[in-house]
Symmetry: D2
Subunit: 350 residues, 4 copies
Amino acid sequence: VTGRVRTALLGAGRIGLMHAGIIADSVSEIELACVADPDPRAREMARPWAKKTSGSWESVIADRSIQAVMICSATPAHEPQVLAAIEAGKQIFCEKPLAGTLAGALRCANAAARAGVILQVGFNRRYDPSFAALAQAIKQGTLGTPLSIRIISRDPEPPPHSYPRGPGGIYFDSSCHDFDMARYLMREEVTAVASFGSALFDARARVEGDLDIVTVALQFSSGAVGSVETCRTSAAGYDQRAEVHGTKGAMRVENPSTLAIESWNAAGRQRPVNPWFFTERYAEAYRDQLRSFARALSGAPPEVTADDGWAAIALAEAAAQAQAEERVVEVAEVIRAAQACLKETRSNEE
Amino acid sequence: VTGRVRTALLGAGRIGLMHAGIIADSVSEIELACVADPDPRAREMARPWAKKTSGSWESVIADRSIQAVMICSATPAHEPQVLAAIEAGKQIFCEKPLAGTLAGALRCANAAARAGVILQVGFNRRYDPSFAALAQAIKQGTLGTPLSIRIISRDPEPPPHSYPRGPGGIYFDSSCHDFDMARYLMREEVTAVASFGSALFDARARVEGDLDIVTVALQFSSGAVGSVETCRTSAAGYDQRAEVHGTKGAMRVENPSTLAIESWNAAGRQRPVNPWFFTERYAEAYRDQLRSFARALSGAPPEVTADDGWAAIALAEAAAQAQAEERVVEVAEVIRAAQACLKETRSNEE
Amino acid sequence: VTGRVRTALLGAGRIGLMHAGIIADSVSEIELACVADPDPRAREMARPWAKKTSGSWESVIADRSIQAVMICSATPAHEPQVLAAIEAGKQIFCEKPLAGTLAGALRCANAAARAGVILQVGFNRRYDPSFAALAQAIKQGTLGTPLSIRIISRDPEPPPHSYPRGPGGIYFDSSCHDFDMARYLMREEVTAVASFGSALFDARARVEGDLDIVTVALQFSSGAVGSVETCRTSAAGYDQRAEVHGTKGAMRVENPSTLAIESWNAAGRQRPVNPWFFTERYAEAYRDQLRSFARALSGAPPEVTADDGWAAIALAEAAAQAQAEERVVEVAEVIRAAQACLKETRSNEE
Amino acid sequence: VTGRVRTALLGAGRIGLMHAGIIADSVSEIELACVADPDPRAREMARPWAKKTSGSWESVIADRSIQAVMICSATPAHEPQVLAAIEAGKQIFCEKPLAGTLAGALRCANAAARAGVILQVGFNRRYDPSFAALAQAIKQGTLGTPLSIRIISRDPEPPPHSYPRGPGGIYFDSSCHDFDMARYLMREEVTAVASFGSALFDARARVEGDLDIVTVALQFSSGAVGSVETCRTSAAGYDQRAEVHGTKGAMRVENPSTLAIESWNAAGRQRPVNPWFFTERYAEAYRDQLRSFARALSGAPPEVTADDGWAAIALAEAAAQAQAEERVVEVAEVIRAAQACLKETRSNEE
């Protein structure tokens, strides 16, 4: 098939398989040439979507016929896979977070910039039509000068037992989306954060040092302020909202309804629960995200970049420190520290 | 491809092309073998969906390799096409209304029953998840004994200039869906109707004898009552709602939101307009309707039958008479008249 | 006390006592000089509101120091009390319905017009701020040309055991408010009606010949159409809504919330039940209605007149006939009949 | 009049006059014996509510016939008036904030406790039926274990030009209500806070060192977290909401609607603006607050105490410090500092 970009999927877990299905159904510009996963069962599940599977991502990256990779592996694998793919001159879509540390994310972004390859990070929420409408309203000035943003993200349940829960993990794997939303919607950078958090209901989070409920206060460069709440439980299903308040008005994104019905009886007036989790709520957004990647592959400027990838991680690192050390953390401070660490690694390597 | 039902589409107007697209994208059990339309431009537009096109529906029905037909032509063509397809032993999906008159619809239903072929009528709204949830609640007794039903259907704008607007046309081409909803949701028959209507804003309706706003009062066999409003304009976009009120509670289907956003400013609190028209609102329902037809083709009992097709037309005929003659019309009366007319036609033919 | 209008209350049932309380709390222009009720217990309950009570309304009307009366007795007493009060030159507020028959209502209206006294009828819903906002929008043309009106009125439960339930009673004691709303909001007259109704859950209604659920189709003089549903049960509490749809937009009055809260849990998203019944929902409206009467007493043009009183009864009579005789009834026909009956009574009296 | 508590109002500004009106209309247990205000115009406006007025609050407190005082003067006067009233053995209702500093508030609370007089602080929002329903749900465990609280308070416009705007002023005069809500709803204490804030639209706030938009992150003793946003502008009118999220569900208080209407047109679906400001929104709550004070005067345990008064100020002081010094502030730390300051003052006085 001429013109379709031969793409390999690295990592065939839940999110990887979802992307494979989307490509097959809705992104005709991309050809899923190969799926790599060390786990034979995962490869088996990926078989309907790709003619070839492999147990070794290294060999896939070595394959010169592969033009692009979609990295959907576990977080610790992101950085080595991204760097190897850049080295091999491939175009890259990488699930968030771009890397497990800010230094790692900066290293990836720097390498991609030098090599001139696309490195799009998987911030799917930007492609949700409601969040996009909010972004548009702010950009067009409908709300006047933005004064504050408030973001709520509550998963319906804690991640599976096997999912790693290191200290501050929630900021990197979950709030990271919220931090991207904060930057994307407000169109400016966060300069300082403070955060409180606890492990109140997820026993494994407590054991492994992670948190299950956090609040983060944000200071923006313009003087605007914000708050983010990230939580790993929500009885009513996936709960992701955002509100921006400005001098001329406020706009909020609410949870969409699964059904347009209302029931009225002696107990009150009921509406249905929220869509249960991200695959239900963001089906359209995940599709439009890969269509955006396909456009970038054919020359359009990428809409979400490696810089967005590391900027969200900088906020995660700042928030995790702020919570652990019970203080206000300047974002510039964590960026400087990561850059120093990068420099040191480089001198050690020389 | 083994096992796919070779199907021909008769009529490649807006709704026909929509069905063709749905089959290609989402109903793998059906193969669109041919599209027939007298208009070369329509055939041209259908080309992406079907390998073969034809200007003559008669020759398509004569083609023995065709196993099923989807009738999406203009209303006057429905009856002859349905009867010819039955004669040729084909399975049939027919857009509503099943025929232009009640006698014609009864003739189709009788013929299909004798021949033992499927004759599914296109009442897509039954496949909308919100209306289906309302139907389910009533069936399960959640609302107690149903006492009343209220249905509103407002198109965003009158049909195109070229669309025929005969006397009572609105009851046949538009309220017809509402009458099917009334029977489907209430799970019983309407026994009598009264109706008022006018042509207040659509100049062509006035000229050609049609109405653009009607209200219909319904009497059900159990004693429950109902009302239907059908209108050919709606400034806020397609407006289709239904509410059933019972002894234990009420449930209503509201218009879905295109976006889950709210804007607040000095003018009040705004939510977005409704989806503009049926293709936006019922995309999912149209797909699930054809999947249901595919299930029927492979042996499942058809979910919407020719009997549903003529029953809705009986209500349209009763409502049109009630409005024209300013009286209450018993539904049994119009059915008896149509049966008498059928008998007469048959004796004339003998 | 100079300047306060010495007023007598005839009938100290639930609604009478409510009015007495409102006057005491919020209508300083009116002095409740006396309460008349044949029932000693009712007089006892009225004592906190009035210095004097009486068992005989006739003697109260004979009292020349009484300047105005508020008639809150049972419906059959309305006409004689209104006529006697007019005869005695008193100003009158009368609870709806103005009389038990259309002929009676016309007789009252004619007498009041001849005598030049105020005869304001208790259509409290006009004073509800939400219904008033809808009326205002229509008057100002915000909705364009009105095309249809839809009114729902559901009481939380049937009236007490003792309440009379004659044939067609629901149209006179309940739909009567809805008919006034239809005229008030649409700013034009209803010319014809059709109606279906049943007794489905209120055993006493069935025994005594009344209905508990009715739907009424309305034809307006402009060609606009409408529907009214009146029902004597509602599991979610008092349910009174109205919607007007016009060429430029639609506006609907929903049930107000008792509390501005939403609960979200595994069962969905809940809002509180409606206010239970009319005294909760229309507290403000009842107060503003009496303030309007007070303004009329001091010379302002009455906002609700005896003509509004008989016009609503004409619709009740037309709807009751339409239901009983299963036909469309012209409103002019029932008015002519009532006028003929009035004339006949007068010739008999001469 | 026997049994009514002879009460003096100190301060006849907007809020003082509102209380005077409420007492006259709805709190029969309290007699407004006197109003004191240095401003003759304010005294003039208070005349309808009180037989006596005075220019000197000191002489009013010296009046032995006065049994209770309602302190509605400017914040700096609260502490001296409270202390003098306690000295004179009077019962006290004091508008928030109880005092201009935490040390002052503690001094008042200690003095009231020693004297055994009532010192109820004006946290009217506790008496709003919606916030009370949320409090009740939490208390009853409907939401499971509370995990987070989110409070938004946006005034429709900045305070009048003349209103003082000292550094941190917004935390004391505005967020103070939100801090009380946080403690009241969560039923536990806040242990640490962080805050960001700016002066973005209110030129006077910038000049005088105050802020007009702040966000405060809260850490509770149980590990639950929270956030408060206080802002001095809101285009859609007074915007006060709260949401508590727990392991079994979430509940939120939304802004009530002034009217139960919805408009639908080409621009979307509109609902009316919020009630404009506190007197509209909390009319009922202000009345119920004074009825609660009346119950306390007749022996019931006060529902809002001087301890609630100083606890909210402790949070205001902590938040103001946190913002100014860009750090996390432990609430215990500011309380210790205030107590040290109190002790020092006392030793200086000895």
